[in-house]
Subunit: 367 residues, 2 copies
Amino acid sequence: MTFAPLQNDTFLRACHRLATPHTPVWLMRQAGRYLPEYRETRARAGSFMGLATNVDYATEVTLQPLERYALDAAILFSDILTVPDAMGLGLSFALGEGPRFAKPVRDEAAVSALRVPDMDELRYVFDAVTSIRRALNGRVPLIGFSGSPWTLACYMVEGAGSDDYRLVKTMLYSRPDLMHRMLEVNADAVAAYLNAQIEAGAQAVMIFDSWGGVLADGAFQSFSLAYTARVLRQLKREHEGQAIPRIVFTKGGGLWLAEIGELDCEALGLDWTVNLGRARSLVGGHKALQGNLDPNVLFAQPAQIEAQAVQVLDSFGAPHTGPGTGPSHIFNLGHGISQHTPPDHVKLLVDAVHAHSRRLRNSQALD
Amino acid sequence: MTFAPLQNDTFLRACHRLATPHTPVWLMRQAGRYLPEYRETRARAGSFMGLATNVDYATEVTLQPLERYALDAAILFSDILTVPDAMGLGLSFALGEGPRFAKPVRDEAAVSALRVPDMDELRYVFDAVTSIRRALNGRVPLIGFSGSPWTLACYMVEGAGSDDYRLVKTMLYSRPDLMHRMLEVNADAVAAYLNAQIEAGAQAVMIFDSWGGVLADGAFQSFSLAYTARVLRQLKREHEGQAIPRIVFTKGGGLWLAEIGELDCEALGLDWTVNLGRARSLVGGHKALQGNLDPNVLFAQPAQIEAQAVQVLDSFGAPHTGPGTGPSHIFNLGHGISQHTPPDHVKLLVDAVHAHSRRLRNSQALD
């Protein structure tokens, strides 16, 4: 496969801790329900999975936010639960509700039956990656992604979203052997899944440990971090001569940042509870940092959105501008964008990040 | 008012960082739905507020867990939302759902109308405190409590529980002046409320900042911590010659522990994400620490519950046994006990904490 050459490499450079003319910005869930054009495509597709499994629809919605905003990266439109769905758990999305599995994994027999799925079951995802990469035509890089082994396990055991994680934690504490077995299968499946996305054209990959932060100290290290590390050990470092940066985002993982910083990956996602300056002191010497505006800021007025974006950029501190590697920041939200976000406010945010981060670099050049 | 002399002062001594023969233990929401005798009283009361506003029922359910378990403290049975209810917001609890306010506070007019309520509106709470203190008859100390100013504001603006805090954060970011005004009123109301509980017989007070952890770094300090400090500044330090320890619990606040540790209070509650040994190094020199078992551990089997309790005690490290003050631990869960908890498992936990914490002290004495 050959694709058009990349025109905007700020995101990939920032992942590798190289200097960039501005701070690159993209937004988790940037293709989604807050955009009227997304809702229109979603209505045509009939269902969320109808949208996610159709290559043309997935390509269309992935590119929608790039038409509106000067984003520095695209992210595959898909769901974190495609892998357990391919394991035969029967994923569905009822309208207005979250995901649900018809066959949750709650006993020894169900865990024993788990296998790394045949990647052919996920062909629709890899086809979408290739199609999106072609449609991007080199405009910005394409990020592939997966849920982390622990985050997938949460949904696989609970069968749906949860507010107390009672079932999955009951298994963790009462049958740690089963939980470890499930996490091994998940880790190997996630690694195969991300490698196939890389082969299909993903130029960076991100692991979403959305529920790592609900674990107790000690349990996080054994049941989440260790399996994220197992995924990373199996990932391709490069594809067709291009290095593939790997980003790990642990929502609510700020307390464990030093330990997460030991992972073999290029960048760490941070939520809004983390002070970027402190994170930079702790792990910025060897990891790019991605984040971390509270998505609720986008409900404020323009002047306040700009002020909060500036505050996030300033909290990271002076950008690295020289040759070689140095502290590096990729602007993002600290969690997915809300479906209630006014689309105009997103434009304002993206432009404010570019303008202020260029100012920061210019004022440094004048020093 | 005179009450019977206290027979078990381990909890109060631990709050003041004095040595105790075992690690005192109590459990957040220890009087509640997981107990069949509670559900029986609740059925007689007809509704949650019917239970909370009736002095006899409130006394009965507060004492129920003490009949089953060797707990070292009792906590007033009430709700954190009594204060906004007394402000006229109209609290109700639909069966099987969380709390709901009939008149949420969402605009300038509603904020301007907020006042510190007449404490006579909350007389039922103070009467319950006195009644419980009498019924305890000196067995263990009684803890009074309130929600923090920010946590109350979350419910007052959202009108109910929330999973994204969109409305309250929209007000925070778009009208910080209104949010500060609301938090001032809340802080002064909480201070008056806790002082009245102390006068009625509460021997310690706890502020629950249940939703402090949802705020961004920076916003937490300005909109939650500053107003918890405002409450603490107004609290009575002692009553009738007895020092009244003050405990602050910020769920999800582990990242800000050093800053929370600067509060003028005796003890800090910690959730399960925090490593007790690290917390002890950071703030254990001037604060007692309370926590922090994941409540979901109580769904495991006996041997595993014991092992996890031991792990929490061991993570805090060697108990202070000498004269004077020193590092001090009060065992608790990291959040309220689940309504699905098997009552037998709670007995096992409480006894394991007492047994292992005595062993720790004995092995030190032998060194």
